[in-house]
């Protein structure tokens, strides 16, 4: 069988850990980005703390949702994905804005 439903006693944990996964992912992302802008170690520390919380939440979520086999791959994807996605998107942000400082008007310039 593919899925084993959450036990009645674990409902709250399931909802709560799921919500916390998304929330900590965003807190981690925000702190990480902020740390990059401010180059401040304090924010990095906060970011990694948030990520550590995220990992715990993914763990709890996987246990109460009875993840086995394929579903554990999903946990792994979340743990790894949420770790690297913000970093990748940060680099993308810097790169796409690369020529911002020396940007000048180009008459009739039209990008497509």
């Amino acid at each position: 069988m593919l899925v084993e439903p959450v036990a009645l006693s674990d409902f709250f944990l399931s909802f709560f850990s799921a919500a916390m996964i998304i929330l900590t992912a965003v807190v981690y992302t925000a702190l990480y980005t902020w740390a990059k802008i401010k180059t401040h170690t304090g924010f990095y520390l906060g970011a990694w703390l948030a990520y550590a919380t995220l990992l715990i939440c993914v763990g709890i979520f996987s246990v109460v949702n009875h993840f086995t086999g394929y579903w554990l791959l999903l946990s792994l994807t979340m743990a790894v994905g949420y770790a690297f996605m913000p970093q990748f998107i940060w680099r993308l942000c810097v790169a796409t804005h690369a020529d911002e400082s020396e940007h000048s008007h180009q008459s009739g310039g039209h990008h497509d």
């Binding site: 439903p5 799921a18 992302t29 998107i89 810097v94 804005h97 039209h110």
Partner: protein, 501 residues
Amino acid sequence: MTLQAYQEKAAVCVAGCKQRYAALQANPYLSGGQKLAVHYFTVAMVLFMAQLLFGLLAGLQFIFPSFLYEILDFNVNRMVHINAMVVWMLYGFIGSVYWFLEEESGVPIVGLKWGQLAFWVLTGAVSIVVLVYLLIQIGSGDDTSLWLINEGREYIEAPRWADIGIVVVILIFFYNVAATFSAGKWSGIAGVLTLDLVALAGLYTAGMFYVTNISIDQYWWWWVIHLWVEATWEVLVGCIMAWSLMKLLGVRRQVVQTWLYIEVALMFGSGILGLGHHYFWIGTPEYWFTIGGFFSALEPIPLVAMVVHSIYDSGVHRFKNSNHPALAWVIAHAFGNFLGAGVWGFMHTLPQINLYTHGTQWSASHGHLAFFGAYATINIAFFYLAVQQARGNVWMGSELINGWRWKTAAILLNLGVLGMTVALLIAGYEQSFIERAVEGSTWAGYFAAQNHPWFMQAMIWRMVFGLMTAVGGGLLFWDLLEIGKGEDRPAAVIGDAATAE
């Protein structure tokens, strides 16, 4: 008041509307497309008010079941509530596109007359559909009812004749967009927008036929609902946002367009197969567990991307902007979308828990915050951009005349929707617990959950916050009619005329 007094009041009202309409047609600050857009925005706001009103009526029936019993039953109120929402959002989107079409393409709209005709046809059709919903309500179990009264499929209840009308109107809209860009110049935003409109119209036809088999019926029904709301609408809003950000924050076109493509890749990449999370329990095969679960877990990724980017922008540009109300609503969009679609979505989406939450107030809780956060907010932001220009591109920064009004409206609307969402969350939690898990979803179990004090109290709190939302909505309408009047400071200039580039 006597009848005569009422008549006089009505006459004053009509005269006022006529005067406003004449002023709109003569507005020197607006192009032809923008005047058409204002038409759409006006109807959108009226429908928004209808959504709030019928939402309140339906909510009251949870508390007082005999309220309007057999006059306007719950199913009628609820149908008007959700249909008004879908249609006002579409009106907002169409209006927004007409608003920037000429500026973006560099030429006047090719078929403006057709666009105007389509507006009146659509508005007439919507009025007839709503009147039939309210006055005739239901028919006998045959094709005539489905063609003329209502199709009885949640969100796309519009009778078949109206479906055909909607497709025709969307095609006219599509023609105007594609032909105008062809006559002028194409851009990245133009390309994404045009292709997205093809998908939007095409997907609607997936909901336009009748089948006996309820599993097949719901399979295609979700194509329309999910692929509109979680894919094509998102990209449409992405286009509108892209243009607005150039306007509002002065972000450069190349950056905006690159990010539009990135968002398209992320949203379609997660959203199209995210459809799978609606295919757990309707008779469809088990592999949808795997697909739906996986892509649901990916759906928050575009939100992560938005967080990084908005913090990056705020660090670099420090939110310098020319329109405070619009920016406030864009920020509300960021938070609402993240909480409503991201957190509320993921909490109950995997099959292991969805088995218990599917078809409970959980969905209502998620739906309220997600639709508001993802779409209502962005439409309202655009209305403020439009009204700024309509009033002569006036100042909309700090210390606005009657600035309390837009702030109060924004606070009431956001708090109201958030409050309803939390109330419905508590109701849904209790329902999934008692009705689903303990009582095994029997009818007795359903009512045991509905009669539970947690549920009853949640419905009262939902009503309180619903009223708050409605007051905020009314205030917003009033503010849009008045803001910027008597303002003689010109708008702040941001960026370096980036949109013209």
